[in-house]
Amino acid sequence: MIELKAIHVVFAVLALIIVVFSIMTVTTRRILRAATYLLFVLFAVAALFFQLDYQFLGAVQLTIYAGGIIVLYVFSILLTHGVGDKQDLPEKKKVIPALVASLGGLALAGYMLYQETFPAVPYDATDPDMKVVGAALMGLGEGGYIFPFEVISVFLLACIIGGILIARKR
């Protein structure tokens, strides 16, 4: 029972980090700071995966979000913003619709969470090794991800071609 408590403490700390930095991400007026706080949120989510002993997903989270998406964000912010730039405060007439939309979203999400019954799933501590993950990604049969994998590949190829088309010299 005492082991369970230590796990609860770690989870509480991570959850607190996620909540605090998520709020700071949307309330800060400096855009690069927002990206940095988002980075902290993504780190804490990766830490949650590590806490669940699912290291593969944790490492994927670090690679794709922290190493990929955030670097892309920071790169584009670097090219377009200076150090002193601050986001303008929202206009008065936009505040009320925004408040309604966000409160409505919160109510909807809260209702869904409240309705959902979380069944106790047996804890599976085995970490899938490389072969299992590879077979699942490339599998054709039950639980195989070959179709979404190929769709995303074609989509990314189209994105790359589009980028080159925009960037090429005439």
């Binding site: 690069l32 670097l78 150090v83």
Partner: protein, 358 residues
């Protein structure tokens, strides 16, 4: 061969005997953290001394020779100087991000450092996905470089950070593909599995042609990834003063300096582990007597010997080749290294499928 897990499991059982499990675990985590940071700092000091001596030798100088015998305390003296220097914050910079950037750099490199197998049973993070985890945590250091360059509010820092970011993102691809080639040969991503698989010959010999190509691609990409050697464009002194860390002073500059040298160590250690067998002694199948003699050399000595050999090779690169231009760096990666790496991946797949390796 001595197994270090005897020592660690003895400490673990002793702690668990006198206190509850969670307290024992907490104490062990703190102990491991302290030991890792201590080893990290000591290795950085040794590398700074080594760099200055190697540089001196290549330039027909003596290198540091005043502080202590052969100048071995020079790096310690420099460290003390750096610790007591003033931290200067410039006006109109983003102070929060300015202070945060060195910590992101150092955290990324300490986490990657923790993944390394230092000897038999001497391994902090031994996951199923060891190499993947190492690559993913070291990718975080790019964020630190970009933040440092932007938060300084200085055009030299900014250009340095952009160059560094572009270079690190590009060369990460080649690094990942050469690692993937070797993972294909090993059949596992965990470092302990990779080292065990080399008990009957190192991968550089077992994988022959594709392993050699992957080794060379890895060395070039790894050298570029550490922003050193002929790829030190991001901090080209003659044009950018010091690149992304121009505005940093004192200990904050020290963090960047430390992370740079430790990244050199990590790149070399991964090269030593994946291609040269890590802590596994030199074993030649059939030569039982020779293998038994080699087993008497401790695993830690093998690991550090190979790693420092690779570090020497990378320093040799640095002090031999002149600096490349930005367009040359990107051309080298996208038009040469990446196609070679992809072709090599195919070659390794053919060799593994048909069992043509030793």
């Amino acid at each position: 061969m001595f197994d270090f897990s005897i020592v660690t499991s003895w400490i673990d059982s002793m702690l668990r005997g006198v206190m509850p499990a969670w307290a024992a675990l907490t104490i062990e985590y703190v102990l491991i953290g302290v030991v890792i940071l201590l080893v990290y700092a000591l290795i950085a000091l040794s590398l700074i001394y080594m760099e200055r001596k190697v540089c001196g030798a290549f330039q027909c100088r003596l290198g540091p020779n005043r502080v202590g015998p052969m100048g071995i305390f020079q790096a310690v003296a420099d460290m003390v100087k750096m610790l007591i220097k003033e931290l200067i914050y410039i006006r109109n910079s983003d102070k929060f991000l300015f202070k945060l950037a060195p910590f992101i750099m150092i955290t990324a490199s300490v986490m990657a450092f923790g993944c390394l197998p230092f000897g038999r049973g001497l391994h902090v993070l031994d996951f199923n996905i060891g190499i993947f985890l190492l690559l993913s945590v070291s990718a975080v250091s790019i964020v630190g470089v970009l933040l440092a360059g932007w938060a300084s509010n200085n055009k030299f820092s900014m250009i340095g950070a952009m160059r560094s970011g572009a270079q690190m993102i590009s060369y990460e691809l080649s690094l990942g593909i050469s690692m993937l080639t070797m993972v294909m040969l090993a059949g596992t991503m965990s470092f302990s599995g990779i080292v065990e698989a080399q008990a009957d010959g190192w991968f550089l010999f077992k994988g022959h042609i594709p392993a050699l190509i992957a080794f060379i691609v890895y060395l070039i990409a790894g050298n570029a990834e550490t922003n050193r050697g002929p790829f030190d464009l991001p901090e080209a002194e003659s044009e950018l003063t010091a690149g992304f860390h121009t505005e940093y002073s004192g200990l904050q500059f020290g963090f960047f300096y430390l992370a740079e040298y430790l990244n050199l160590f990590i790149v070399s250690a991964v090269a030593a582990t994946v291609f040269l067998g890590g802590w596994m002694p030199l074993h030649i199948p059939g030569w039982e007597g020779f293998n038994a003699v080699m087993d008497y050399i401790p695993s830690v000595v093998w690991f550090f010997g190979k790693t420092y050999l690779m570090i020497f090779v990378l320093m040799w690169f640095k002090w031999t080749f002149p600096r490349l231009r930005v367009d040359q760096i990107l051309t080298l990666e996208w038009k040469y290294l990446l196609p070679i790496g992809l072709f090599n991946l195919m070659l390794m797949a053919i060799i593994v499928i048909f069992g043509l390796h030793f």
